[in-house]
């Protein structure tokens, strides 16, 4: 195994054994092969630099490569955006470790040698983020290789396999050329992804949001620090912002829009479909620190005359209900007034013929939309609630406050 920093700076000799130049960069062509060092940039001082192709390399050792061609067979260097440069784009830069779910800085790149009919190919196997590589970088050229190796052995190694490395490229055009995809990020838990994004610079955050699918983007944004969320959304085109915000639950959408400047918020609302825009707009009119400002308008309610079996059947048929978020079902009476709520757990244990009226939790708790944040917290604490109904002046349910929103707000006020 070789390290990129051992190859970089090394001398290159041609087939005749003549010195050609010093290796100043290693290029990968992701469009061709995702991990192969495809070109070696050979710097020659005041002369134009040359490029050696992977099939022109006959041997590689630390500090030296040999070519199987002569100097005149090499091409002149022209920069290419579609090439990934090991020194410039990888060394000392931050990458996302998709398995460890964090942002790390690259100390070195590990390369494996592959021999095929007389040529040697280098392939990236890992990136090195540990103390070993740090010691190597520090001592290279100052101490003997033997000494460096001895020091290294005493230090812990930390490497990340190349397939778990997600590069961060803020320029969207270059990202496409380098074939950087974020499907590994989309598979992460949105909270982990949000943590990662908080570590990055604004341009890098922007590029990640821009390349995620709308659903993942919406989930990640909902988990982010609200100041970051507004920074990101304000830089998106209103149509794109609207597409992402539509994917959020209405209360989250209202929170995000409420943090934006009024003009941007208006632009985004205009791009959203009429009904959803109205729903969010209604939520926006509530004071952010009242029950109305905390509630979501997405909640499940059924008439109290229904039986358990009918309700389960009905919920099954509803694709818009997110089963992971469903823990409470509201019950309304004949006048559409809120008459109680049912924990899904109770519903699970009940027999199919049991009428809902018998499953309702005691006591009947609800708040008006102008109830203060603090009253809401107190109710959740007192009755150990998961979900609290918000009812209008005539007693009809208009929204639900869920425990996760309560926790976020309590944490924010810590």
């Amino acid at each position: 195994m070789l390290h990129a920093t051992e190859v970089l700076g090394g001398e290159a000799y041609d087939a005749q054994g003549n010195f050609v130049g010093r290796i100043s960069e290693l290029f990968i062509e992701p469009a061709d092969q995702p991990n192969r060092v495809a070109r070696y940039l050979l710097g020659r001082g005041k002369y134009l630099p040359l490029l050696a192709r992977h099939d022109q390399i006959s041997s590689v050792a630390p500090g030296m490569i040999k070519l199987n061609v002569e100097e005149k067979d090499l091409e002149h260097f022209q920069s290419n955006e579609a090439w990934l440069a090991v020194r410039k784009d990888l060394l000392d830069q931050q990458i996302i470790d998709t398995r460890g779910r964090k942002v790390v800085r690259v100390n070195d790149v590990d390369l494996a040698e592959q021999r095929t009919n007389g040529t040697v190919e280098l392939r990236i196997t890992d990136v090195d983020v540990g103390l070993q590589a740090a010691a190597r970088r520090l001592l290279q050229g100052l101490a003997s290789p033997m000494f460096i190796r001895q020091i290294q052995e005493k230090l812990p190694a930390r490497t990340i396999r190349w397939e778990f490395v997600n590069l961060i490229e803020p320029d969207p055009l270059r990202r496409v050329k380098l074939r950087i995809t974020h499907d590994k990020l989309e598979k992460m838990h949105p909270a982990d992804l949000a943590d990662i994004m908080e570590e990055l610079s604004p341009a890098e955050r922007q590029s990640i949001i821009a390349s995620l699918d709308e659903e993942s983007a919406a989930e990640a944004l909902a988990e982010l620090d609200s100041r970051l969320t507004s920074q990101i959304v304000e830089k998106l085109a209103p149509e794109k912002a609207a597409d992402i915000i539509e994917e959020m639950e209405p209360d989250k959408a209202a929170d995000v829009l409420g943090d934006l400047s009024p003009e941007v918020s208006q632009d985004v609302l205009e791009e959203m479909p009429g009904e959803e825009a109205r729903e969010v707009q209604a939520l926006l009119d509530f004071d952010a620190h009242s029950a109305g400002g905390m509630m979501t308008t997405d909640f499940v309610y059924v008439g109290e005359t229904a039986k358990r079996g009918e309700v389960v059947e009905w919920v099954r048929g509803r694709e818009e209900i997110n089963p992971e978020q469903l823990d409470t079902i509201f019950v309304i009476d004949g006048n559409a007034k809120f008459s109680g709520d049912i924990a899904v757990g109770r519903l699970l244990l009940a027999g199919d013929d049991e009428p809902l009226a018998q499953l309702k939790s005691e006591p009947l708790v609800s708040v008006p939309p102008d109830a203060k944040e603090k009253e809401v917290f107190a109710l959740f604490d007192k009755y150990n609630l998961r979900t609290l109904a918000v009812v209008d002046a005539s007693g009809r349910p208009i929204g639900a406050i869920t425990v996760d929103d309560v926790i976020s707000r309590l944490r924010a006020s810590l």
């Binding site: 060394l91 000392d92 740090a134 970088r137 520090l138 604004p202 341009a203 920074q231 009024p262 810590l414």
Partner: protein, 429 residues
Amino acid sequence: MQRKATQVRRRSRTLWRRLALFVAVLGPGLITSNVDNDAGGISTYSLAGAQFGYALLWSLIPMTIALYVTEEMCARMAVVTGKGLSDLIREEFGFRSTFFVMVAGFLVDLGNVVAEFAGVASAMEIFRISRYIAVPIAALVVWTLVLRGTYRQVEKIFLALCTFYLAYAFSAFLAHPNWLDAARHTVIPTVQFNSNYLLMMTALVGTTIAPWQFFYMQASFVEKRIGPRQYSQARADVIAGSVSCMLIVFFIIVATGATLYVSGHRNIADAAEAARALEPLAGRWASMLFAFGLLNASLFAASILPLSTAHVICEGLGFEAGIDRKFQEAPIFYWLYTILIVAGGGLILIPHAPLWRILVLSQVANGIWLPVVLIFMILLVNRRGLMGNQVNSRTQNVVAWSTSIIMIALTLVLLYFALFHPSATAGGL
């Protein structure tokens, strides 16, 4: 009717939000600049006033400009790149440069931490409390204050502490200075060409523009997630910081100039002695306020310096850092932080530790280190690949480079005296 009411409420909410936004951004610049007036700083300013009266006041205006220009570069880099200074040095200049910056920074900052605890010890001795009690308690308070709170809470405490700097303004008023004379000296330069005067000037600049503050400020702006949209608020914060920092310096020089200089007590050795000497001249209150100011400044800087240093090192080397993280998540960060405080406080407890010599040495170390950091900063802020069209303008570059060159020259003067005329340095400072 209903509609109208909502509109009014929303308007007032945006007004409130705008104010809240400003207050939220206000912080890093103000804190950093004020921490600048640390133990070493206050000692130097008191001496400047005691030895030269108001004669050095004119240097405050150019120093304010230099402080603003250099700090603004950091704020701009934070806002545009969203990265800390040591992150940028690592990404743009590679591993070895970063390592050098980190090791040198660690040593220089350790010297500064020692100086801060020396300040605590001197101030508490005015209140007749032994340093063997004061320093360990101070170290413990600082350590827990930062580790047991989240960043924002800690910052609020720091901001509140900033207002205690008004103690110096009170001290100055209680000293009944000749304000007209002070104002004249602030505007009209009076240059003397003797070694003591030049030395004092060097120390003034060296202590006001300390290298670690750039790292700390940029990291704070990044941690507060201040983006390009809030750049004007961030800049206002930097201006507020530079100006308020210099106002405090002004009041200290006036307070000591109006009393010690006028009455001939010109050979005081440090700020604590200045506070004691103030007592018969300006009354017990002026003296107590002065000592309290020194204590506060030392504690304030002692809380921030180790934090800043741990940040710089971890950012550069790629370790996890930040007081928002738990100990298990960022062990190296917390260890560095703890070592700096324990070693910094511990050195003061060595019997007969020469507090004053330590203060002087730490200022010298700052002076040597400053131009290196400044040059890194100027190179970074001019990289178009990094800053886009937010690179320095020609005027900004002229100011920044001449600031650096003047500081390098002043540092060389200080070094010359420190190396070849050590007695002059000790006596002069």
